[in-house]
């Protein structure tokens, strides 16, 4: 239970730092261009395609992949599966950093970022789905911060404040899950208003439910995926109990993910049936839709099932990675590829390299912060003088 014996001293100029440094420099350059030349200087956005890669990837995919926070918290705190307790803190950390990355990316995409609080303080537009998404993301960011702060306080040794926050965890978890359900589903509801621009195979009145169920699958897979990377990179930071629990977490979450993916595939089929889009499956977009559904929903579900039945964590880890890719593909499909499908190819949108560059910059910021926190704060191990359990 104690701190690991000898934390490996990390040299400053190890390859990770160098690459991260370059990306951050490029990112800062893009930031300068963004706030001097306006959105047009840095993106391929135009009046036909108002939302591009930043909304499609950083926001939609970022929020979906940061769902690990509420899914793990639900499993451990509310459903009482204490055996996954080891995965709770890393998941909460990933969630918190994920949402911070989302908000940072939002600051770049929105025309006047300093006006972001306007809808809640100045002139609310309650009929807008974005109002609901904005409110929930802001509140959930606070909840995640409060759930993350015990780790920081343990590192800082603030005993009294930590005890108050620990007593609040249950309340925060329940409030967090409620908020997550709302904004994960509302991100899908954003596209309900444009049946004329989103391809009928992807547009459905079930969109909010699709987004929520797929976010649960994303959360579970992200926890598995993130634990794989963490064990490879920071195993020296992990105590014995955490390592031992890793496989249990992977199997448990793998089973849950298999179940959720199967449910997701079923309700997507209901979605196709609801609007009788069977004929569209024979078109080119239909082929792309089938690729997404079979290749990135059924296949990972199948791999999860195989991994769970054979107690083989590596298959589950690969399935989780495939599911994460599937979620990214689904979100990009809805926001970029199947959106404005009725326009001529000349008017269609393709991300500018600086858009992708900036997204990589934001992700690198997140990873660096993750590395900074994980190597200092008691994320993978229990702090010796706070080990009286949560």
């Amino acid at each position: 239970m104690s701190e690991p014996a000898n934390p490996v001293e990390r040299p400053i100029f190890c390859p990770f730092n160098i690459i991260a440094g370059i990306i951050i420099l490029v990112g800062l350059g893009i930031t300068y261009l963004r706030f001097t030349g306006g959105l047009g200087a840095v993106t391929n956005l135009d009046d036909n395609n108002a939302w591009g890669f930043w909304i499609g990837f950083d926001l939609l995919c970022g929020v979906a992949l940061a769902a690990g926070g509420y899914t793990t918290a639900a499993a451990v705190e509310v459903f009482g599966m204490k055996k996954f307790h080891a995965a709770l803190r890393p998941a909460l950390l990933t969630g918190f950093l994920g949402y911070s990355m989302v908000v940072i990316a939002l600051l770049y995409d929105v025309g006047r970022p300093w006006r972001l609080p306007y809808p809640f303080v100045w002139s609310p537009g309650p009929t807008s789905v974005l109002f609901e998404v904005g409110a929930c993301v802001m509140l959930y960011l606070m909840v995640l911060f409060l759930e993350f702060s015990p780790m920081a306080l343990e590192w800082l040794g603030e005993r009294k404040l930590r005890r108050v926050l620990v007593r609040l965890t249950l309340l925060l978890t329940i409030f967090g899950i409620t908020l997550s359900t709302m904004h994960q589903s509302s991100l899908g509801a954003l596209f309900l208003i444009v049946p004329s621009k989103l391809h009928p195979l992807w547009y459905s009145s079930y969109l909010p439910v699709f987004f929520f169920v797929s976010s649960v699958a994303a959360g579970l897979s992200m926890v598995i995926f993130e634990s794989t990377l963490a064990h490879r990179a920071f195993s020296d930071k992990m105590d014995e109990e955490h390592k031992r629990a890793a496989d249990a977490v992977v199997l448990g979450f793998g089973k849950a993910a298999a179940f959720v993916l199967a449910v997701y595939f079923a309700i997507k089929t209901f979605g196709v049936a609801l609007d009788d889009n069977w004929g569209l499956l024979a078109t080119n977009y239909g082929l792309w839709f089938l690729l997404e559904m079979i290749g990135f929903v059924l296949l990972p579900c199948f791999l999860f099932v195989v991994g769970v039945r054979d107690l083989n964590p590596t298959v589950i880890r690969w399935a989780a990675f495939l599911t994460v890719l599937g979620i990214v593909l689904n979100r990009l499909n809805i926001c970029l590829i199947a959106f404005n499908w009725q326009l001529s190819p000349a008017d269609r949108y393709f991300p500018h390299w600086m858009e992708i560059g900036l997204s990589v910059f934001v992700v690198t910021l997140g990873v660096t912060a993750y590395r900074f926190i994980v190597t200092r704060m008691p994320v993978f191990y229990e702090h010796p003088d706070f080990s009286e359990g949560h």
Binding site: P124, P126, T127, A135, L171
Partner: protein, 45 residues
């Protein structure tokens, strides 16, 4: 509440606005009600 609404937009702005306020109030009330129910239970929380 008395004046008529000329468009669905006005009607929804009105109703959704009240709904948000009500749900905010509900959340606070829920926590208080939870405590009100559980403060007499003897075993340690």
């Amino acid at each position: 509440m008395s004046e008529g609404f000329h468009s669905l937009q006005e009607f929804m702005t009105h109703t959704k606005g009240i709904l948000y306020l009500l749900s905010l109030g509900y959340l606070v009330a829920f926590v208080l009600f939870w405590k009100y129910l559980h403060d007499r239970e003897n075993d340690d929380d």
